[in-house]
């Protein structure tokens, strides 16, 4: 029997938390800081944007940096908004300079309606960024062959979607996710995007995924801090269930109480 918390190691960094938290869309910097603390996360995602004459970030980024120092966690910058491999490569280099980390959440969007990742652009960018010394966390669909190609070009972690970004639909294709887990044993797999409720996150973890990345489900909750804690607990529960071994479903009822036949019927 084991009651120890298991660890996982994306790009050789050992972590106990399996909850990656996005930092966008919170009602205030203080709520973001408290949500990070409540989640127990050890990786938070951040972004870059073009500087315009007007408008700052109201202190959100400083809150993230401070929270990271307090919790010893890691920043994972993204390439959100990029539509081509070239754009993503350029933005990744900027992120490495600004945030001082080789980790990059690679996003190359291929469709404006679903924000579905472009598999060709993502693979091309991942190949170049790997050559440039980045540790690439590619946001991808649940397509097995695309995932295999990403591994071929040097990715050591994959982040297939559960559903389109921000949709909150949960795991729309459990078959594909189960297939990924079965065909890619040993590869750290993170369900990224589409998670709406803690039960979705638990379901992903029960499938054997190594971690979950989400943002909107916490940021848009009525009480983000409490929701962050709820997700943290669900992710832990789902992982514990996976490691414990979920029972096989049965078509018919199977009595659980060990009675001997009918209690009042004597043959």
């Amino acid at each position: 029997m084991s009651t120890q918390t298991s660890t996982w190691s994306p790009y050789g960094t050992e972590l106990t938390s399996r909850f990656l938290l996005g930092t966008a869309g919170y009602p205030s910097p203080q709520v973001l800081a408290h949500s990070i603390a409540a989640s127990g996360t050890q990786i938070v995602t951040v972004g870059l944007k073009r500087t315009l004459a007007a408008g700052g970030d109201n202190g959100f980024v400083e809150i993230v940096r401070t929270a990271m120092q307090e919790h010893g966690a890691h920043l994972l910058p993204n390439t959100a908004g990029c539509r081509t491999a070239r754009e993503a490569i350029t933005l990744a280099h900027m992120a490495r300079e600004l945030y001082g980390t080789p980790w990059i959440k690679l996003e190359v969007v291929g469709d404006e309606h679903t924000l579905q990742p472009d598999p060709w652009g993502t693979v091309d960018a991942a190949a170049q960024l790997t050559r440039d010394g980045f540790a690439v966390f590619p946001y991808c669909t649940d397509d097995l062959v695309t995932c295999q190609r990403l591994l071929d070009v040097g990715c050591e972690v994959l982040m297939p979607w559960g559903a389109p970004i921000g949709s909150g639909q949960g795991l729309i294709n459990p078959f594909a996710l189960r297939t990924l887990r079965a065909r890619l044993p040993g590869v750290p797999l993170i369900v990224d995007a589409g998670i709406g409720a803690p039960s979705h996150a638990a379901a992903a973890m029960e499938l054997g995924f190594d971690a979950v990345l989400l943002n909107s489900a916490v940021a848009q909750a009525v009480d983000p801090v409490r929701m962050a804690r709820g997700f943290g607990l669900a992710i832990q529960a789902g992982r514990a269930a996976y490691e414990a071994g979920v029972m096989a479903p049965q078509d018919m009822a199977v009595a659980s109480t060990p009675v001997s036949g009918h209690p009042f019927l004597i043959n």
Binding site: A24, D57, N78
Partner: protein, 65 residues
């Protein structure tokens, strides 16, 4: 003239990227730069000469998902 983010500026001969940032009072350590879509590392800004028609973009850290 050159384009610097959302504003148009004169482009005197010999202007470097580092000099442009200083003239615009940009905190050079808080931004990343690109000229005509190509990343220019901090260490190369003083050796990157700008020309009329160039587009200079700066990027800053923000929250993200």
């Amino acid at each position: 003239m050159l384009q610097f983010n959302d504003i148009t500026l004169p482009c005197p001969e010999g202007l470097t990227l580092a000099a442009l940032l200083e003239a615009q009072e940009v905190d050079a350590n808080q931004i990343a730069t690109a000229v005509n879509g190509e990343f220019v590392p901090r260490a190369l800004r003083a050796q990157t000469w700008l020309a009329a028609g160039d587009t200079v973009l700066t990027f800053q850290a923000i929250v993200g998902g």
